[in-house]
Symmetry: D3
Subunit: 314 residues, 6 copies
């Protein structure tokens, strides 16, 4: 398979790509044509079907995998594929992993690590809560494992939510070791649950876009409510413990202007906010360094950091 | 009964007051004494029992109604009651309305007006939701009717939550008349429900203080969750309608820095935010004007308005 | 007449358009050509005269109505009219209403409504002030009736200033009904006068651009001064009343950062600010909803609202 | 005469002081007493008349000069004068200069300097405008010469407005010399007029408090309007020149948050803003250094400078 | 020895205290007296010598250890010691550890731990730099070991700078383990050096106040310069390495408004800023929890956290 | 010579230009080509060598002066030079002044003026410090004289740093005359030294780009350190004087958010900040006015001034 980032002007494709979106439009000459976004894990390619009535174009929808024959052209500086034949593919003809950005780490190995963190929790109520999501709820498990953690910024890939959650939890465990007054059980639980609302804020990969609820409500209060509903079902769960755990979720963005309706009011909420924020910044930095030119030292102004950023070299 | 704001140095009291709080402290000479805050609807009075072992002092707790004999003294510029006798009173000996600030309006009349607003709602799901709270749930009704809308700022009196809710709803009805693209049913429902979380954020009068959940979670997300739980129980309630209604509750403070985790994203959420904000400002202004000296024109710098405020006179 | 938003590539025009602006430029080959912005109420069209010395092009200026023959072409994705003949039209050949965006409401009907509001004012001085502008001053009346309320944002059409003024006054009347301590006469007068400075801040339609004074002084202080000059001429006008009315005008943007040199210091100034702000937001929302695709739910990030905005649908 | 800052506990006064304010109050024992603020140029003294019915106390009002006999006591750490006799004085019995803070510079000498600056202006319209205020208008001249420039911060003394105006104009003359593209006539005129609204924003010394118009409108727009009214009366005054001059007045605070309804849009407005701001800071610093202990190096946190400030010593 | 927080009204002292400051003042009756601040590790006590000429008062200065005989009185609600005898003590009469707040951890043990961190650094230049400060420079070592890390907020005790430095370094080591692209040698070195400027910004304990250089220059640029001077002396130290290390010091406050003249531009600078900020917040929280009442759950509004803070209990 | 701003489509060049940068790239057809930025004092020209293997193209690097034969074409609206021959030139073939923007003032005359300012300084230590840089240090003198004061904003030309320094010093001399409490020697010295760090923050013209140290450290702390190193070498230089001088350098941006790690704490630091800020704004305004169309009155929104700016005309 020739990946999208390897295509050059004049190439002829005979490959399968994922259809991210498709629109039927009217050209300036009054004729209908299709404008398609094809995707693989290396990027996105603009494709056109100019003659929709010609024989070679089967019916298809967004998120179908398509076998496409066409010619790579360059229009106004960007590549465009003129499609001659399109055919919908069956499962088995392609490997989904070729079409979506994936975590560097194996999903199952990561999930096993998550279970180890859950086993660190001694408090029976918190443990039961975690198990009800991450062990007993198969639908949730599947969604959580495959989800990205973001639409476009850091961790925007399959397994991103799991990878970010593990990394935040790992930091929290270290913080609890260094600062003994932190309640380790509460902090680990909050770390593992802090972003579970993202399973509903963002639609599944490959769409990976904000859902209606994501836009209207946001992952913070969605997650807050998901945890609340489970706590209701656990008999004897101490009310104050539930409130403190849910406070950690509400406050994990740290500041009102980042969408937290409460500022951290307990030590564990502060620690969680730091862990979340640090991991977001470190992963952004990692992705930036990875995508940088080999020889570049300065990488340009980055909004998240409000600074021109530099590789560490000497 | 002599009200607290009528007491003068040298007066001897033989009256019943509400005990807002009581603390046992150690004086500099090593002896125990009691420091008590007595309250009636006109103010709060600092009282002391210097000799706790003397015969006349019965056992009592905060929120008891107390018959108190003592002498009014002045210490460092503020009045203080030296108590000689304290006796706990039974229901019937006093009229609670003398001890708490009350709305200017009759509670039952206001509640009837609320029902009229509910009857304006045509959408069967929204109507059912409102009825489940305000008509069918006796415990909620009682709490909602008696609650204040704030600890210390505007509407900090019995019936304040109801009065504020009515006033916001009245504005929203007017807005819906003037701007026809507003969804009147959604807007009225959101107005009526916007502050129901305050029934759990603040404890009942006379305590009227932030609860643990109030501090950790806040009335915005508490109300969001209360509405969500009820919606779950109404068969066929359209998911998008529930999300839009709950978005209005989340966004009703209008800005992140005032604790809303989402900015208003639909027209009804904007209208609700304006109604809530305007009513808060108008009631604050009304209370300020009411408490001002008769002859004063300028009333001093007011933080809420970031300005020295003036009576309108000419 | 074929409106600008109906033109397609290849069309030949034989219609009258308003010339919004015209520039004489030098092409890269050294020849002069004309670049013209043609306008009707549906949009703006880029037109070129490549051969200015050919016989068919008469002399004309910006704001003339022009009969234009030419061919619609597409250049770099936008439509362009290649003009062959241009002729200046006389009054009577065209209907100005076809060339300017107009209010949805009839100007005379709106002006009658404004008179009704003026008749609500009982205070003889305020009434005399309003009459001196809106009844006795013919030049002002004409300007006020036709003016837009903005260059590019909400109410940017003929009659926009009148429509916005009516809407703000209507809200203020409602506020005065709900909050009885508001001085209704003062509030209505302030509402009607709050934006009269815009008659000098913006030039007449169709130019509708900031004047020199508009840029240097702004409509807030221009209006403040217009009101002050009239008050001078009304014998016995109470000084404090004049100052409070003019304070309302100065403070109607509510915040320093929006160009108000004073924060609202009286209740009526607060109410006016809310009415002005709410009407601006509601009209912006109305225009946004009107221009949205029929099927779209989410309408994209809107700077005024600092949010992705959504149609209310369920 | 013994100045207020020289009085000590136990002293008996036989001196004349200015009555800044007087209030009739009711003591805790129910008797009336008078609370008086006495002032001289060195400070303010709290005085009481406990027995208003005793023979020695004549009738008087705020701003009268009073001969006072009494005894200096100390109450809760501050000095208090127990008055036995009070008599209203006639003009001639006292020297007003002993009772008000005055500029270090002679008022007439300063006014002469102001005339010299006026004579630098060549433009006939600007010159006529300046003369109409500062030469022909006797009432304005008197007010301008005696006024302070502030209620409590820098230049809060008789002649302060004149001193500040001279200093700002002196800086502007220097700026016009260094930056030749600045219009010297416009800049000098703007500098001389920039704060004339303060003659109406603050009441005369010794009251020196915000007037009703000062609070409602502020000196910026008051001065803008004063200049506008005079321009109206000067035949042929170029409109654009008037607008630019008045823009300089509106914009001289430089930022919206400091009450300017427009940001500086011409070079002269920028220069004026810098001169005004620098002179305010330098005079604040001068007053701070003058009032500092001889040995102190660090002078404490100063809000205007957002810093702990230091004397320059080495 | 009776500690200051154990003294009660009427007690007679025969103990040694540290003199934090002493002033000679003039009483309202014209007599001189001494106002002294006595300190031990539990608090500060206001003491007075009313009769400085009586026989029992020896000469002394601030920071002397004084044997004091006197009587504990209460004046306006706070305790005051009326001194009858004061005698300067010799070294050996007292244990300095009784008079200063100390770290919970042993200074030598902590310093050993610091050496272990230094030994983790492999880069020869960075190692040499660290050794030149922390191993070879005896004067610096002593100052660094004893210094507090702040005048009044977190870590304001003997050994505070060392304790904070260790804690920040420990976090940085953990971050380098978790995020492998971080340069561990650079990060550890930056962590150890980030606050060395505090040895010159604050005077030694017990004075522990801002020095002249501390106020004028601040610990960030002082530390930046200290590191620069040492690097100059290490032959071959790579210039870019020195700049990146010093960048980390400059940027460790993370934001301009907290006094960093540069925002973090390399990953290590980000990580250091997080470690510094987290440790400051955790130690503040620890001190807050330690000083809280045993039964209190809510600990009041804390400016650093912009929130009412709560103990974690359930 | 035909300057870049005079070239037109179709012209053939036979001229020398400065090579600002050169990159070897791969075209979409897989062939190598060169993309070159050519510069003279009137602008920058995009040039291409499509056939790098053809005979006429000599080897060259960025910052070489190149004789270029080619044809001017227009591609996507901007001019592009298709190069046929390129030859590296020797010194003498060209006049560097044709290739770089220069100050309007003669460099030597300006440097003489700088010496006059140095001679105003009476304090022997400050004078010695200034001489060590501006008289004795030939390398520094040369760099300082030729440097720009900025990469892209005001004073971005050869001699810009010197011109700005003189202008700031001139203002400071005037301020010291008007405000006698300012220490003239300290203020002049601080003015002359305030931007010397720019000699290391920006690389030499024509590159004139941020250096690695410029990005990591910034000119404020670089200048602070340069001054510190020289002071170390002047025997007896008073420590406090050095700290105050260096404080002025640190604080000259006036606000944390503009990169000053300290706010001005002495009067001279305030005065320097005003002089620096005013000169930056006046020079920006001068450059804006100079580049404006002759007939334009309004010059468009300017970010530095946060306003649409206007020429002063009437």
């Amino acid at each position: 398979m020739k990946y999208i980032n390897e295509l050059r002007e004049g190439d002829i494709t005979h490959d399968i790509y994922l259809c991210k979106s498709v629109q039927s439009l009217v050209a300036k000459n009054g004729k209908n044509y299709l404008s398609i976004a094809l995707q693989d894990k290396t990027g996105i390619l603009d494709a056109k079907v100019w003659d929709v009535t010609s024989g070679g174009i089967e019916d298809f929808d967004a998120l179908d995998y398509l076998y496409v024959e066409g010619e790579v052209t360059v229009f106004q500086g960007t590549m465009q594929l003129k499609c001659r034949r399109i055919r919908k593919c069956r499962e088995g003809e392609y490997n989904p992993a070729d079409y979506l950005p994936y975590s560097r780490f194996d999903l199952d190995t990561m999930y096993k690590k998550l279970n180890e963190y859950i086993n660190l929790v001694k408090d029976p109520f918190l443990k039961k809560l975690l198990e009800s999501f991450f062990i007993e709820d198969e639908e949730f498990k599947k969604a959580f494992k495959m989800h990205s953690a973001a639409k476009s910024v850091h961790h925007g890939f399959v397994g991103g939510l799991l990878e970010h959650t593990l990394s935040v939890t790992s930091l929290c465990v270290k913080f609890a070791e260094q600062y003994s007054f932190l309640n380790k059980d509460l902090l680990i639980t909050a770390a593992i649950c802090h972003d579970i609302g993202k399973t509903k804020e963002l639609s599944d990969m490959p769409a990976n876009d904000y859902t209606d609820d994501g836009n209207l409500l946001g992952h913070i209060v969605i997650g807050y409510e998901m945890v609340g509903e489970r706590i209701e079902k656990i008999e004897g769960f101490p009310h104050a413990l539930g409130s403190m755990l849910r406070h950690c979720i509400l406050a994990h963005h740290g500041e009102y202007e980042y969408g937290s309706p409460k500022k951290p009011a307990i030590a564990e909420a502060i620690a969680l906010h730091f862990a979340d924020n640090l991991d977001a910044k470190m992963e952004t930095m990692r992705e930036l360094l990875e995508s940088a030119d080999y020889n570049a030292e300065w990488l340009g102004f980055q909004r998240l950091f409000e600074s021109n950023m530099r590789k560490t070299t000497y």
